[in-house]
Amino acid sequence: MLLIRKTSLALVGAIGVALLSAQVVAQEKSIVVASTTSTQDSGLFEYLLPIFQQKSGIAVKVIAQGTGQALDTGRRGDADVVFVHAKSAEEKFLAEGQGVKRNPVMYNDFVLVGPKSDPAGIKGNDIAAALKSIKEKQAPFVSRGDRSGTHIAELALWNRDAGIDIDKDKGGWYKSIGQGMGAALNMASASNAYVLSDRGTWLSFKNKGDLQILVEGDKRLFNQYGVILVNPEKHPTVRKDLGQEFIDWLLSPEGQKAIANYKINGEQLFYPNADDPNA
């Protein structure tokens, strides 16, 4: 009897301590940023955020999701800032009144990755011709299928640039996996398939296997990132001052320089372009 009572007292105590310690951590100055898997998997945030935190004392908590999901997290008011890469989806977000203003931050590009043996013979710098050839040869192709920025870009390349209605024309060779960039690359690596990736994730990806870049340098493979403060008028809990401070820093010469300085094996991953109003 006594034993059980003691144990239950200890239980309640332990739970109290655990919940309390969780609360203490939450007290510090912090914001939640919903962003894309590419910015996390490429290691950019791991490099950038400590620099920002040291300067401002603001801890940035990043939730890495696909662009579509990240914007939805903002729509629910669960993030203070969204940092994504799909201009059309971002403009829709603004049109709904969910965001304050879209600020271009940086760009890199997409690359079409595939097995060294290149069964569809697509190597080169013409993305439209490459996709047409993949479809003709029914070569295995992995699609993100998750409404991410990369997925939206992939669909536009099929539909607009290659003139293929991929939703109608896809066959067993086209595998829509509904997962992040890393998972898509892992699958392509394991099954020698073609896949569209952002360059940053590709460079930092460690399980390349037989994969290599086959198509790059086509200007249609451009990949622009934007950052938006979630509208505090719609979501009063948004920490607008801290969020704006983060955005201002990203767009400042100092933040832009930090982005440019991030390299893997000497190769620059992202190119700052906050000064380009059309981006």
């Binding site: 239980l11 655990a18 951590v25 898997t37 908590k61 992040g180 690359l185 892992n186």
Partner: protein
């Protein structure tokens, strides 16, 4: 084979030099999963015991439900807790989405049916044996609850360890409600998921080995102290 060799070397290296980042992740995993399983136990054990002791309408339905929920998918629990805790959800004003507290809530919901079902199973047998004795002794049914749990200590321990095992091993719920934020809500399992997605499979597997060592240690410690409890 080479991947496995690298994974084991990395795992021992990580444990050996007590990697500070790993320490934080292990600490959070333990804190969250222990709190969750303790919480589930504190609620579930009396409930499971009550299902043995009291007779009321709907009792068998509750037992069936508890057993059916043993197979509760973590991702569904994660989603439900997410929608409840989201700023646009009914409990949004607490602002605990993407915090360790949210992860504790999700994991205790997952662990609760396990505790209820296992405790009920243990105490049902004990009640059949000792029930009349306890009641004839003048104990109320409420007091009998505690006596039963005391007699069935080893079954209680098993229920707790099973709840902890469920909590520490799952990733589906906490990655949704915690967000896998570095240094804040990243646990062993979400870190494994992340390293897998970065293609660093040996490191992911090494973290998996560390996780298995960790949960074996907890079970070992639990059983060791449990022996002290049950042998008296």
């Amino acid at each position: 084979m080479n991947d496995f060799a690298i994974a084991f070397t990395t795992a021992f290296d990580l444990i050996g030099r007590l990697d500070p980042q790993l320490r934080g992740i292990v600490g959070l995993s333990m804190a969250v999963s222990l709190s969750a399983s303790l919480l589930a136990f504190a609620m579930g054990a009396p409930l499971g015991s009550a299902l043995s002791v009291y007779r009321f309408p709907g009792r068998s339905a509750l037992i069936v439900i508890a057993n059916a929920l043993l197979g509760l998918p973590p991702v569904v629990v994660g989603l439900v807790v997410y929608l409840l805790l989201s700023r646009s959800g009914p409990l949004g004003s607490f602002g605990i989405l993407f915090t360790p507290t949210a992860m504790v809530i999700a994991q205790s919901l997952l662990a609760l049916p396990i505790v209820v079902a296992l405790v009920h199973r243990t105490t049902a047998g004990l009640w059949a044996t000792y029930g009349d004795l306890l009641l004839n002794d003048g104990a109320t049914r409420f007091r009998s609850l505690w006596s039963l749990m005391n007699i069935g200590r080893d079954g209680m321990l098993t229920a707790f360890l099973a709840a902890f095992g469920r909590a520490i091993a799952e990733v589906g719920a906490i990655i949704i409600v915690g967000g896998n934020i570095q240094g804040y809500t990243r646990t062993m399992t979400t870190a494994i998921a992340l390293e897998t997605s970065k293609g660093d499979l040996p490191l992911a597997l090494a973290l998996g080995i560390v996780l298995i060592v960790l949960s074996m240690t907890v079970s070992g410690v639990g059983l060791y102290f449990g022996r002290g409890l049950t042998s008296r």
